[in-house]
Amino acid sequence: MKAVILDGIILGLGFGLLGVGMTLVYGLGGVLNLAYGEFAVLAAIVVAQAISGGMPTVLAAVLGILAAATAGVLLDLSLMRPVYRQSTGHRVLLGLMLTLGLAFVIEGVLTWRDPLGGLTISIGGKPISILGVPIAVGSVWAALITLAVGVVLLVFFAATTFGRGVRSVIQDELGARLVGISPSLVRTVIFGLSGALAGLVAVTQSMTSPLTVSGGFNLTVYALIVSVVGGLGSVAGAFLAGILLGIVDDVSARYIGSYISDIVLLGAAALTILVRPRGLFGS
């Protein structure tokens, strides 16, 4: 049981980081980016190609993350422009359609160019014992990186001027404009951050299990579920929800069967909408 929960927490940290990139973009303007998981896959392919081209792993990872961040910024500057001109209801729908279309395009192109593509970063060494449970070195590294980035994000959004500015746009866009904040600039920056986070998750996930060209859709779904449960627009909520859902996922997979865990997660999201529509931390 202890091992299952520990594994769940490690998995959940990754979920949390994934959720942050989805939830911020939604909170800032009502766009659920269905191409989000494909940004991770894009990063994974870039990293894999760079490594096979002889680049050191760390440098390749940075390159992949930058590629995904660039994809995020480009998406904001192109397809999202007409979306943000719509009023709220139409905005959600148009955003869903356009990002879904983009997801198909990215997945199609990557599958066509690199059908067997994927990323595995193996870190050697004997499993490390945490609370008496042996954990693979790759998982420990992935969890540490995720935790560190999570803390940086929390501090950034709580205590820096720009972080407060981002939260102000989420809470009242017109109020933010009145204090001199440009919502469209904030959205562009956060789209870039969102892409970078997708890229980072691709890297950390591939330290524990391979990420393949077809893995993008799953990541998008996980990110959506974490966003809903954590509260749309909340960084702390995304991490808390990620950890909870990671544990739920691991426990249900272990004791019932892995076929059930996705359904349990979707159920958790549906239940959240019914019981607490703002999510754990939503405002």
């Binding site: 407060r164 009242d172 017109l174 204090v179």
Partner: protein, 233 residues
């Protein structure tokens, strides 16, 4: 001239609401825009603040054309607009709301001191979430947030909205003390006696056009104003 509005037209979806508006505010002056419901006061304020793109005319601040600037740029140039609906950040504390007024800078100590001097009621509530404040307190935070920016021009749309008569009077007294400190104010208000109590000059807006301009004394004596806005037969 600090603010200069000339032959301004603005409206929604091609439908003109205000037109041919000429209006000026000198540094240190308190100017009121009065008019009944639907006259176009809010539309005019929004067009000056950059929330609504003017259809024609010109808006300039200290001689600098800012007609088509987006709202965040107008704010950055020193025009703070407090809308009637306040638009605070409800889940943030009073303190964070005030701090954000200075975005992207840190708030100046003098600016915060001024806010607590004008609105002492805010001081014990700095850690309270803005969304849980009463309407009167929210109004204080909204004006306070605008003051933290140390604006060259403070624009307020119906500061009396949603306030009991006593609180509305307090709000205008606070504006009076800002005036005493040299703040330049442009205030839209339908409670004409309140507006004229602090103003140096007033404009009457009717059906989207300025029909009258003058000192409070002149407007007070005007038979039209007396009949339409002061409830005097």
């Amino acid at each position: 001239m600090l603010l200069e509005v000339s032959t301004l037209a603005a409206g929604y979806l091609g439908q003109t609401v205000v037109q041919g508006v000429n209006l000026e505010v000198s540094p240190g002056e308190v100017v009121a825009i009065i008019g009944s419901n639907g006259a176009g006061k809010t539309t005019l304020m929004r067009a000056i603040a950059g929330l609504l793109r003017p259809m024609a005319g010109r808006v300039s601040l200290a001689g600098r054309d800012m007609t088509r600037w987006p709202a965040h740029r107008v704010a950055g140039a020193g025009v703070a607009y407090v809308p009637a609906e306040r638009h605070l950040f409800p889940a943030m504390t009073v303190k964070t709301n005030l701090v954000l007024g200075a975005y992207p800078h840190r708030p100046q100590r003098e600016a915060l001191e001024l806010v607590f001097e004008i609105f002492p009621a805010l001081k014990p509530r700095l850690q309270q979430r803005a969304g849980t404040l009463s309407g009167g307190q929210q109004q204080m935070v909204a004006v306070g947030r605008a003051l933290v920016a140390q604006p060259r021009l403070l624009m307020l749309d119906e500061p009396s909205t949603g306030l009991a008569p006593k609180l509305a009077k307090d709000a205008f007294e606070a504006l009076g003390s800002l005036k005493g400190r040299g703040m330049t104010l442009l205030v839209a208000e339908q409670q004409v006696p309140l507006a004229l109590s602090v103003a140096d000059r007033g404009y009457v807006l009717e059906n989207g056009r300025i029909t009258l301009e003058g000192t409070p004394h002149e407007l007070d004596r005007n038979p039209e104003v007396r009949r339409a806005y002061l409830g005097v037969a």
